[in-house]
């Protein structure tokens, strides 16, 4: 098979993937999304809308229009804090945060994560949980600084935490952690 044809086939597969996300949202995640009439209350309340490439109300319109790929290729769903103020205030009871959460999970399934720092952070965090069964903040901060090359980032904070003895210098381990490791590996 020539490469052109292969690419076409892969493209068709991705197209089907994106349209299945829209289908699932309309059928299961929140059928009420068809009621969004673009009032913009979600975006007005969103604490991060100023750094979102697409604002929450735009994302709703993109879902309605079937342009899931555009959403996944923007930073919005990965930065979203799930504070859910958008859903709380929606006059049409559209669960915006839940829809964004669903698209985010699907994007992780195909490893399409637009924001590199978030991807690094989550992977490191979950690897740690897979090893010890618990999260370990010193390892996390040191690891993130090492990977990003910003060794002195948040040093002021690290010094403060140590000064107040608010950190364990040795990580805690869950005794029965084999199962946890297996499950974490399954999804990472």
């Amino acid at each position: 098979m020539n490469t052109g044809l292969k690419q076409k086939k892969a493209g068709a597969k991705m197209d089907e993937f994106y349209s299945s996300i829209q289908r699932d949202i309309l059928k299961y995640i929140d059928p009420g999304i068809i009621n969004c009439y673009q009032c913009g209350k979600c975006t007005a309340g969103c604490p991060l809308s100023d750094i979102f490439e697409y604002k929450p109300n735009q994302i709703m319109m993109l879902v309605q229009a079937g342009r899931i790929e555009s959403i996944i290729n923007s930073n919005s769903i990965f930065l979203c804090l799930s504070c859910e103020i958008c859903s709380s205030r929606c006059p049409q009871d559209v669960h915006i945060a839940k829809i964004m959460q669903y698209i985010r999970n699907e994007a992780w399934k195909v490893d399409k994560i637009k924001v590199a720092s978030i991807k690094r952070f989550y992977k490191l965090f979950l690897k740690e949980v897979g090893i010890t069964g618990r999260s370990y903040e010193p390892g996390l901060i040191a690891g993130l600084n090492l990977i990003s090359g910003k060794l002195l980032n948040d040093m002021d904070i690290a010094v403060k935490i140590l000064g107040k003895r608010k950190i364990n210098l040795i990580p805690e381990f869950v005794k029965d952690r084999k199962g946890i490791s297996r499950i974490v590996k399954k999804y990472l």
């Binding site: 750094i51 804090l81 945060a97 999260s135 946890i180």
Partner: protein, 320 residues
């Protein structure tokens, strides 16, 4: 809630501290336990608990986060308890939702939700747990739990004031306090809690504190998000949001904040210096856990509720 949960009775509540409460929120952990002791509420820590997965696991895969959280519920059941107290708000959200999926009596809404339950159950079996019995978990956040117990808090407070007086150092601190209650974003949103309070203008914290004689100021930014875990990857976004919260507290003429979320506490207290530097401000607002203030009002020493572990020292309030 069974009224039989008390220190001497057979019933105890299962306690799930979560990772933060064993490190950066150790003051929350200790002050909560001491408060439960004074209130005669029996609790027992879940044996061999694990991380709930929190935001990273949730954003990577809902199946993963609810599996990790459900493991803790099943461990509580192994100890014979299905009522769980979960102080960290992030953990609470995850455990609460996990309980929704696996509780036998839950009415799941559609095929996707049923698939979710089946996957969680299969994963739990894969980890070697027996999940055949009837499951009926009830997960409480600290605020909801204390709200249910506020009468006992009031009684204890009156007891202290009727008999011996509170410690002199405590009295001075309590007199000088002008707090605002900051709820943060995660507790009252539609998908998280059972909405025991209003999501825009909650009052449960104020009502609890009032039982212990602490009167709070009105506050505009009660439920605005502080930026949460984004502090590790997009620090400036967090400093901006937290700055607005501190600014609003000053506008309310407050001299401190009261919180119950380890992440909010960290962003507002630990990062207050960073906010001061970035925005050229001069905030000096201690950020207490609600359990610390209640402990002080009920006669515990400042040291025993770990006031000395706060980054912004509350000492100045006393000298004001």
């Amino acid at each position: 809630m069974q009224d039989t949960i008390n220190k001497n009775g057979l019933n105890k509540i299962a306690y799930y501290p979560g990772c933060s409460l064993n490190s950066t929120a150790i003051d929350f952990n200790i002050s909560l336990k001491k408060l439960l002791d004074i209130l005669d509420i029996g609790y027992i820590e879940i044996d061999d608990w694990n991380c709930c997965g929190t935001t990273p696991a949730q954003n990577v895969s809902s199946e993963l986060v609810y599996t990790l959280s459900a493991r803790n519920l099943i461990l509580a059941k192994k100890m014979g308890i299905q009522e769980i107290l979960c102080p960290c708000v992030s953990c609470y959200n995850k455990l609460y939702k996990a309980a929704y999926y696996i509780n036998t009596a839950s009415k799941l809404k559609n095929k996707k939700e049923e698939q979710m339950r089946d996957t969680i159950i299969a994963n739990l079996k894969d980890m070697g747990f027996n999940v055949e019995e009837e499951l009926n978990f009830k997960v409480y956040s600290v605020i909801e739990f204390l709200y249910l117990k506020k009468k006992i808090i009031g009684e204890k407070y009156n007891e202290i004031n009727a008999g011996r007086e509170n410690l002199p150092a405590n009295r001075v601190l309590l007199e000088k306090l002008k707090p605002v209650c900051y709820y943060g974003c995660a507790l009252l949103r539609p998908d998280s809690a059972l909405r025991f309070d209003d999501f825009e203008k909650p009052t449960s914290m104020e009502e609890i504190l009032e039982e212990a004689g602490i009167v709070c100021k009105n506050f505009q930014f009660k439920t605005e998000c502080c930026g949460a875990i984004l502090s590790l990857t997009h620090k400036n976004a967090v400093l901006k949001l937290s700055n607005m919260i501190l600014d609003s507290a000053l506008e309310s003429d407050a001299n401190c904040l009261v919180v119950f979320c380890p992440l909010c506490q960290q962003n507002l207290d630990l990062r207050q210096d960073q906010i001061n530097k970035l925005y050229k401000k001069n905030y000096h607002l201690p950020v207490f856990y609600i359990t610390q203030l209640l402990g002080i009002a009920l006669g515990l020493t400042p040291r025993s509720v770990m006031l000395d572990r706060l980054f912004v020292s509350p000492e100045f309030i006393k000298n004001d």
